[in-house]
């Protein structure tokens, strides 16, 4: 199966050049002139990665990563920037970018980064499954259920959940089954996978647990 590559850049000429080159290297390329069309038009379940220009005309590239995650796009994002400065590199990596390339980047470097990111995505998919539907399901949880969800993700037993939330074991049991039902999870490992995607989108308890 060919990996999909999204190119988000406001420069049509450069987009076309990248699309040609990476398309030739075996990627299915979808290119977008701005963040809105990328988020609206990119299939969230596609396997591959995203090449994102940090200086998009309509949005700060770092916000775009957040919005993509909210839209359940879990593909790794590679930031391209003409301004190869340390602060923007740090900012973009902290915001969840997979990697960072200066623009213009050499073809070899670009291909290597894109392939790395695609492999990372493949590995993440193998471990955590696709993000599709996870966030929308998580958003149906009540505040109490979300607390239970994160305790479950941390591997807590019913006893521990009850103690942590200050509720009875009976109530904890009800929360647990509600969370499993709402998240359409059959096991605790499904909850752990979902937690990964929610964390990436910085919902619930962001930054409590760095992998």
């Amino acid at each position: 199966m060919n990996a999909t590559l999204a190119i988000v850049d406001d420069d049509a000429g450069y987009r076309a050049a990248l699309a040609w080159y990476l398309g030739r290297e075996g990627f299915v390329v979808a290119d977008f002139p701005d963040a809105d069309s990328f988020i609206a038009g990119f299939a969230p379940d596609a396997l591959g990665c995203v090449l994102l220009d940090l200086r998009l005309a309509d949005a700060d590239g770092i916000d775009v990563i957040q919005r993509a995650r909210q839209a359940e796009i879990d593909a790794p994002v590679i930031i391209m920037t003409a301004f190869a400065d340390i602060p923007s590199a740090v900012r973009s990596l902290r915001a969840g970018a997979y990697s960072f390339v200066a623009k213009p980047a050499g073809n070899g470097e670009l291909l290597r980064v894109v392939e790395d990111a695609t492999n990372a995505h493949r590995e993440a998919r193998r471990r955590f499954g696709p993000a599709t539907g996870v966030l929308s399901r998580y958003r149906t949880l009540t505040a109490r259920e979300r607390d239970a969800f994160w305790s479950m993700a941390d591997g807590c037993t019913i006893k521990e959940i009850a103690r942590e939330l200050g509720i009875s074991e009976k109530t904890a049991e009800i929360h647990r089954s509600r969370v499993l039902a709402k998240m359409t999870a059959t096991s605790l490992s499904d909850i752990v996978k979902s937690a990964h995607h929610v964390r990436m989108a910085c919902e619930g308890r962001p930054n409590t647990d760095k992998e």
Binding site: D11, G13, Y14, A16, A17, L18, W20, Y21, R24, A82, K103, P104, A105, G106, N107, G108
Partner: protein, 519 residues
């Protein structure tokens, strides 16, 4: 003038010396050939208008000590009329020229000569009325005396005043080669020799004087206004001296006319040469300025913006080029890819062009200009260009008084480039070539169209706006059109090249009209 006091103190005695010298050189009783003090007076008023009362000192002394008018009122008038007239004339010329006349400009020279003639005529008329009234001169002689006085004064002015005004014209003519310097000196020496010869011959016949036109004209051509003023003065002084010293002291009836013409011809040639030299110097300066601004943007602030804008086309080009480096793969449409690469390269070129125009826009000085005047100022140079290729140059003003904001020198450069281009295209058409400059208006645009009846632009030139690689014209560098385009764009205008239906080339320069509210 930093030390006017010296001139103030020196003026009366020098004036008196010239006065008595003129009297001493009287060629007939009571009739002096010329009157140099008039020239000194006019020069003084032109240079030091604030100190005009000094003009009354010298003549006051002459009137007080002389005894040729008995009547006190007439004496008072004979004291007052000439200086008053010269003060008025001097101020008139100053206001017409906007200050000390710059004799290196033909326009100022003509104003100066006209003002001088007017002054000399008016002063003579009033002065002689006074003398006739006092009974010193019979009324019957009125017209003849007025003519003599006026001619004498004017002769003094055209001979002496230009010498004093030389500093104001700031001659641009530098000595060009030893040969010319020697020839100029020889010409000056020739003037003296001819006149010395006249004196020794002592003939009433001044035929040899007519030869003086030659060295005067030569020096005006070779040395500009300085040459004209100095050699004209030398020629006239030597004619006057030889007339007085000759064995038969007679002035030929045409001599004053000849002397005035001699001086004026020299001055006119000098002014024209001077003006052309200045226009060329201006053009050279602007060419150097444009060359400088080509390199300047690399260190200017806009470099950062430029680098940023160039990043995309360069990155795209690199992507294509690297991708194709190991040869095309199956499925690569090489022609389409080459097309994309050309498009990216053109994009980069456009960015560079725009940056260049922007940089030059900053380098140019914008001033209110009127197109007719611009063309008139460039005309001597344009004419010269056309003449050098035996081309007829015409000017059509479809709309006059068109006002723009622009850099005078840079736009003159554009005109020169376009005319040179046309003239070179028409070279070898055996004098049938005609280049027409049309001044017109189209909507919000001022239009300068340079049209010729030659073979027209080659397709290549029309498309790319330059002949850098296509030029087959000998002696042409091919930079004229691109430089003109850059200047046009720096003014917010365009330069469009086209061919007329009948085949001639048309270069159309459009510049934004100056908004009236911007005045």
């Amino acid at each position: 003038m930093r030390h006017p006091w010296f001139f103030l103190l020196a003026f009366p005695p020098v004036w008196l010396v010239l006065h008595y010298a003129a009297i001493a050189l009287d060629v007939a009783p009571g009739v002096s050939l010329w009157y140099p003090p008039a020239g000194l007076s006019l020069a003084f008023v032109l240079i030091f208008p604030r100190f005009w009362p000094v003009l009354f000192v010298g003549i006051g002394y002459v009137v007080a000590t002389g005894s040729y008018v008995a009547d006190p009122v007439a004496a008072l008038l004979s004291w007052a009329i000439p200086p008053l007239g010269y003060v008025a004339g001097g101020l008139l010329i100053r206001s017409a020229c906007g200050g000390v006349p710059d004799l290196g400009r033909v326009a100022d020279l003509v104003r100066f000569l006209a003002g001088a003639a007017l002054t000399a005529g008016a002063v003579a008329m009033l002065n002689v009325v006074n003398f006739c009234n006092a009974g010193v001169i019979p009324w019957a002689d009125y017209a003849e005396r007025v003519r003599d006085f006026a001619l004498g004064d004017l002769l003094g002015v055209v001979t002496l005043t230009p010498l004093f005004l030389l500093h104001a014209s700031g001659s641009r003519i530098r000595q060009r080669g030893i040969g010319k310097a020697v020839a100029s000196m020889a010409a000056l020496a020739g003037i003296l020799l001819l006149e010395a010869h006249e004196v020794t011959l002592g003939g009433a016949q001044r035929a040899l004087s007519y030869f003086l036109l030659l060295p005067v004209a030569w020096n005006a051509v070779a040395l500009g206004m300085a040459g004209a003023a100095i050699s004209g003065a030398m020629a006239n002084v030597s004619i006057a001296v030889s007339s007085a010293l000759g064995a038969v002291a007679v002035v030929g009836p045409g001599t004053p006319y000849f002397m005035i013409s001699l001086a004026c011809v020299g001055l006119l040639i000098g002014a024209m040469v001077e003006e052309r030299a200045r226009a060329l110097a201006d053009l050279n300066r602007s060419q150097a300025a444009i060359a400088r601004s080509y390199t300047r943007f690399s260190v200017s602030e806009s470099a950062g913006k430029l680098i940023h804008e160039l990043r995309h086309p360069v990155a795209s080009l690199m992507t294509y080029a690297h991708g194709l480096q190991s040869g095309p793969r199956p499925g690569d449409d090489v022609a389409a890819l080459a097309g994309r690469m050309v498009a990216e390269a053109e994009r980069a070129a456009e960015i560079l062009d725009r940056a260049r125009s922007e940089t030059e826009a900053e380098a140019l000085a914008r001033r209110p200009l009127v197109l007719d005047q611009l063309v008139a100022e460039a005309w001597p140079v344009l004419h010269e260009l056309a003449e050098s290729q035996a081309i007829t140059l015409r000017r059509e003003v479809a709309s006059s008084g068109i006002r723009i904001l622009g850099d005078r020198v840079a736009l003159m450069q554009v005109l020169t480039n376009l005319v040179r281009n046309a003239a070179e295209a028409l070279a070898g058409t055996g004098g049938k070539g005609v280049v027409t400059i049309v001044l017109d208006r189209a909507g919000d645009w001022a239009v300068i169209r340079v049209r010729d009846n030659g073979p027209g632009f080659e397709d290549y030139v029309r498309r790319f706006g330059h002949a850098l690689y296509a030029s087959r014209k000998p002696g042409s560098d091919g930079f004229g059109l691109p430089i003109s385009r850059v200047i046009a764009e720096a003014h917010g205008g365009t330069l469009h090249l086209d061919n007329a239906p009948d085949g001639g080339a048309i270069a159309e320069l459009r510049l934004p009209l100056r908004k009236e509210e911007a005045t």
